[in-house]
Symmetry: C2
Subunit: 316 residues, 2 copies
Amino acid sequence: MKDWPTLVDIERAAKQIAPYAHRTPVLRCSAIDDIVGAELFFKCENFQKVGAFKFRGALNSVLSLDEKTAARGVATHSSGNHGAAIALAARMRGIAAQIIMPKSANAAKRRAVRGYGGTIVDCGPTLADRDAALAETVAASNAAIIHPFNDYRVVCGQGTAALELAREVSHLDAIVAPVGGGGLISGCALAMHGLSSNIQVVGCEPAAADDAYRSFKSGTLASVLAPDTIADGLRATSLGSLTYPIIQSRVSDIALASEAGIVCAMRLIWERMKVVVEPSSAVALAGLMENELALGGKRLGVIISGGNVDLDDLPW
Amino acid sequence: MKDWPTLVDIERAAKQIAPYAHRTPVLRCSAIDDIVGAELFFKCENFQKVGAFKFRGALNSVLSLDEKTAARGVATHSSGNHGAAIALAARMRGIAAQIIMPKSANAAKRRAVRGYGGTIVDCGPTLADRDAALAETVAASNAAIIHPFNDYRVVCGQGTAALELAREVSHLDAIVAPVGGGGLISGCALAMHGLSSNIQVVGCEPAAADDAYRSFKSGTLASVLAPDTIADGLRATSLGSLTYPIIQSRVSDIALASEAGIVCAMRLIWERMKVVVEPSSAVALAGLMENELALGGKRLGVIISGGNVDLDDLPW
């Protein structure tokens, strides 16, 4: 616990990324407030660069490297937004980025990584394939690895979203965010704890990928094998060794959302808020709608995590 | 020309609607800037109440009625956003609203009007049916008619969108907006003229409903019969007797957009800006992409007019 990042670290991250990242808007929607029975303040990270909060953590990590390390380039594995975010952050710093991606990854995601100047390193579909490809890449290039979530630089960068939200909207009672590998939620929790606020942090997770929920409730880090959820950003097989203890200690609760509930919440956000969000982003609202969280009438910050979705393959 | 509303009228409208209407955000998108080759500032009226700029004009009109007139209620004809906007504005003032709608109108639009507390008066599909139903409704109730665009109270209310944009974003070179009946564009033009700015106002119209373009170029008010365009908000058969002269005198140019261009621009906005816009909203961007308007490198305000779209019937 002594090693955990503090508010000072998150503020340093906020200052470091400020010149390059968007300060995303907070939107409200009275129709959704009425449905949920609370006052919701949506922090729209779908408007962030790369279309996701992942850019905050990726950029903070890349900018935290010393000159000598940075010169060797960076590497990561990701079939989603983190890969694109690392590619863009590396381009901004003028260094190389190698992104390990399974050959089966979505073509749009591969285009995004290339569009931001990243080099894709193909790998097979299993975890072992991925780890082997990353090890080989790093052995050859000596590139610095930036893990998608199990890295304090990433956690601090992602936590800046909650810091901005809590400073913009006064008297929040809680911040609700989706949980995948736990980078975002642990960053949010550290930021709120550091502010010495009474703002609770609540995570929401697809019931079909409930490893964080089980870990949180049982006190033992659980995993899930190849979770089958529409929330493609939250398919991490387990929380990280760094993110889990923070979540266990600093998060108030984790709630589950059904697949149907995620699609329903996603459509509600599109129809009523007029914003394009990816399924993972709708998990927080779905969790609020499907559970009795004793948050009725409260002022709730909701992190909209991203907006990268295939418009030719919508779930309705 | 002496009778035209002035900046004072538009500022009065802005003050009148301010407590009830959203001050909508201005979004930017570097990817779209690169495609167009200009700096675009999108005024997102899709986030306005009712999901469209129409709320500004409807609310200003309803709030402008004296107590005695207001007590008799309001009536309008609209198969789209203006009807919903009048219904909500009337409910806010606590008066009745009767909306004349063809029986064939989109079910979602009918639900929206009812959802905001409006009473739907069914009519047949022709203009004559509509006018007869409105006359009958007004004869029975003595309700005040609020035309969708050919009304200075509506023009002033809609012009407040441009006023907000020009005051938020410094040094704009032009404001680009879609043209249907001409309420929005004439309000924008009056506001920019009143600011004594050098900000040009440029209209964009579907080529499949090019009556405003032809009117503007020929100097004679033209009409179009049952225009077949995906931009359902811009199917007005002609400009109004009040809006046309303002446009003729104060608008710099009108450009046309193809149907394919509208769909392409709409998808670009969804994918890159992460915002849900209706086809009519994409006409301005499509016009910029398809024409040589000598606006390269300029700072352009673009009015995103609305975001009401049937998610089960997308054009791709």
